[in-house]
């Protein structure tokens, strides 16, 4: 029986349990709900919870563990593969699973009988042809070893599934029955359900934290692997970035960091003043009608996918800048060689960040109480004096937070850089030159056939880790500023 069906049956059991629990609770007081400790629906919910939750958790765990256990059990059957090669082993195992799936499909479609699938020999039948008939294409002929492993895999997994069905349904039934038996007028169903809710919420929080932790751990793990292959000092202090998969590449992060920071600074120099002024206009000066129109308009900008901004950089802003600052341009300076440049990406990224800064700042400025403004206006201050001296200082922690968030986004942005700034890793002060960033290089290191044991591919994890540490630092700094000012103001 498939997992989906099991889950549906468990849920049906839970629904039945709800009705039953409710009925039993009402029966225990002869229909007079006042004598119940909790509302009848709580007794129902309690039974449903006891039926569904443990069973479903068990189901999920089983589904995760079963393939691992099966792999373990089948693996010894494959002797010919060199034992040390973990990568080879997993390739063979995935072949085994594919053959097993193919046999399943063949049985389902009636091409093979169950007995045929079980007893088939690779020398008497062309397994590959049979399986491709049912839509499972295999890369090479199936060896006898693989076939017998696949057959064993099938047998084990069908036993496992049967076992899972029985155990999960038994747990669901047992939960429902115990909960129903416990249902009595004095049973504190409300508290139990409350407790269950809490466990559920804690579970969700833990899940979020654990996945983050997992991601970070895998980053760290691969970063360490990278530093075993490539010296850390060359990575952190190297001034050139020239990866070559043949070996002998220099992987210094400084040119990438420089490009990242340069582009981010230009982006923030565009986004912060414009976004902040727009927010001040919207929240302090605009009439409600203009505001109702302008704020959504500005937020539409935030909904544009960054790849579209990238195209805008490539096709519009770049050529425009070249026509001004390029060879023979209006400015007559000839600083710019091509459309892709730090300036191009920075400007476009700044435009992308404007709505981000303005809508966050607008919310924060609006949260400053009106009485504060009244106090200042009542003393004969003008609107702009009030904004500068009372509203902005009060909103400052939030605004700093908004700016730092925008900075994190600028640092993590990829598409605009790829299309707008070029791919050349360079250390240069000229903002009209092409440069590139950490994120863009992570992409280019991992696209194509990456060999995950070479430093050229693993460096992507080190780069990701570096970015992560920088953004984490920024966020901590933002929190620190917010807290510092909050102490001062509250």
């Amino acid at each position: 029986m498939s997992a989906l069906w099991i889950a549906l049956i468990v849920l049906a059991l839970a629904a039945g349990g709800y009705v039953l629990g409710r009925k039993r609770a009402l029966a225990s007081v002869g229909g007079n709900t006042r004598h119940l400790h909790s509302l009848p629906s709580y007794y129902g919910a309690n039974v449903a919870m006891m039926a569904a939750v443990p069973a479903l958790i068990l189901l999920v765990i089983w589904l995760i563990l079963q393939p691992m256990v099966l792999n373990r059990m089948v693996a010894p059957m494959i002797g010919s593969v060199a034992a040390g090669e973990a990568g080879e082993m997993s390739l063979v195992m995935s072949d085994v699973r594919r053959v097993a799936d193919g046999l399943d499909a063949a049985v389902d479609q009636g091409v093979l009988s169950g007995a045929e699938a079980r007893d088939m020999q690779s020398d008497s039948t062309d397994v590959r042809a049979t399986l491709s008939n049912v839509g499972v294409a295999l890369g090479s002929d199936v060896t006898a070893e693989t076939l017998s492993a696949a057959q064993r895999y099938r047998a084990l997994s069908s036993t496992g599934s049967l076992l899972m069905t029985v155990v999960v349904l038994a747990v669901a039934l047992a939960g429902a029955i115990t909960a129903t038996l416990r249902t009595h007028r004095d049973f504190r169903a409300r508290n139990v359900v409350e407790h269950g809710m809490r466990v559920l919420l804690i579970g969700a929080a833990c899940f979020a934290i654990l996945t983050t932790l997992g991601i970070v751990l895998s980053l760290i793990f691969n970063t360490v692997k990278f530093f075993n292959l490539y010296p850390a000092s060359d990575y952190f202090f190297g001034l050139t970035w020239s990866p070559s998969f043949g070996g002998g590449s220099s992987l210094g992060i400084l040119p990438l960091l420089w490009g990242t920071l340069y582009i981010s600074v230009i982006a923030l120099a565009v986004a912060v003043p414009i976004g902040l002024f727009a927010a001040i206009y919207l929240s302090e000066y605009a009439t409600p009608r203009i505001r109702a129109f302008a704020k959504p308009m500005l937020e539409v900008l935030a909904g544009i996918p960054t790849i579209v901004y990238g195209l805008f950089a490539l096709l519009t802003v770049g050529p425009l800048l070249v026509s001004v600052f390029g060879e023979g341009g209006f400015a007559g300076v000839g600083w710019m060689q091509g459309g892709t440049a730090v300036m191009t990406a920075g400007l476009v990224m700044g435009i992308m960040l404007i709505p981000f800064v303005s809508s966050l700042s607008d919310d924060i400025i609006n949260a400053v109480p009106q009485t504060m403004r009244d106090g200042s206006l009542g003393l004969g201050a003008t609107k702009s004096e009030t904004v500068r001296q009372v509203v902005l200082p009060a909103a400052l922690p939030g605004i700093v937070g908004a700016i730092l968030l925008a900075a994190s986004r600028a640092i993590g942005e990829t598409m605009i850089v790829v299309l707008g700034a070029g791919a050349a890793a360079k250390l240069s002060l000229n903002p009209f030159e092409a440069m590139t960033t950490v994120t863009a290089k992570i992409v280019s290191q991992l696209t194509g056939d990456a060999d995950f044991s070479s430093p050229e591919a693993l460096v992507a994890f080190a780069l990701g880790m570096t970015l992560f540490v920088i953004t984490l630092g920024l966020n901590i700094f933002a929190l620190w500023i917010v807290r510092k000012y909050r102490e001062q103001y509250e």
């Binding site: 109480p369 009106q370 200042s376 206006l377 009542g378 003393l379 004969g380 201050a381 009372v390 009060a394």
Partner: protein
């Protein structure tokens, strides 16, 4: 009541500072002030009394055009200060508010230090030529606000860290520091203990020497103690306006009498 009659005579000689004629205020469709006409004398304390929601604060806010900040609020009629229509397009509301100071119903100190709270107005209007003068202005204002002794050692602490009553006195000091000609006080003592109340009342009495003070209060005793003129508002109407002694001892309108004897409220 003898001394009250003396004050009455004094009032008669005072010039009119604020004249309101046929003032109507609407919040959207809500008609909050209905055809109010009143003359407020210079160098006098005028008290506005009346049940909650009758429009005292609304009318007070008309006098320094604070209602301009509420987009749905509409003011009609004439209000003249020193014979100048304050709703005339040529009048700059910012200048007007420097001249007509206000203490709000809820204390609203700025998220700045106590010193900067008080120095805010003088700095904006350039009242001090140097730091020493500014220090002097701040100290004088804090003394007049009856809060100097409590805060003199922590002028750099944030104003928002004071207790509610201290905040209100800080706001009074802040308003006095700009030396307004008219001071509008919206229930300045509602959060104060009796000692601070007495100090603020003393301040009001002192301010009367040079300014015109309008005070909104829910305390009949306070109105009787500090004011020379009293206006009684009810449901947006100005029911009765006259000398304080007269209003409290011999009200003409039955509504006034019921209110001050505690039968409507």
């Amino acid at each position: 009541m003898n001394d009250m009659r003396q004050i009455e005579r004094a009032v008669d000689m005072k010039q009119t500072k604020i004249t309101a004629r046929g003032v109507q205020v609407y919040y959207g469709d809500n008609h909050a002030i209905k055809d109010v006409s009143v003359e407020i004398a210079d160098k006098t304390v005028t008290a506005f009394i009346g049940p909650s929601g009758c429009g005292k604060s609304t009318f007070l806010r008309c006098l320094n055009r604070m209602n301009d900040t509420i987009s749905i609020c509409r003011v009609e009629g004439d209000i003249l200060i020193d014979n100048e229509d304050i709703y005339d397009p040529r009048v700059d509301p910012v200048q007007l508010r420097a001249k007509v100071g206000m203490v709000f119903q809820k204390p609203n100190p700025f998220p700045k230090s106590i010193y900067d709270n008080v120095a805010y107005g003088p700095k904006i209007h350039g009242l001090a030529r140097n730091k020493a003068e500014l220090d002097e202005i701040v100290e004088k204002a804090l003394r007049r606000g009856a809060i100097w002794d409590e805060v003199k050692d922590r002028l750099n602490a944030p104003g928002t860290g004071l207790s509610g009553g201290q905040q209100q006195r800080l706001c009074i000091a802040r308003a006095v520091a700009t030396e307004p000609e008219v001071l509008l006080m919206d229930e300045p003592c509602s959060a104060l203990d009796p000692i601070a109340t007495a100090q603020v009342e003393e301040l009001i009495d002192e301010l009367r020497q040079s300014y015109s003070v309008v005070i909104v209060t829910h305390s009949m005793q306070q109105a009787a103690r500090v004011s020379q003129k009293t206006a009684f508002f009810h449901l947006g109407n100005l029911v009765e306006y006259g000398e304080t002694g007269e209003i409290f001892t011999n009200p003409e309108d039955p509504r006034t009498e019921s209110y001050i004897t505690g039968r409507i409220g």
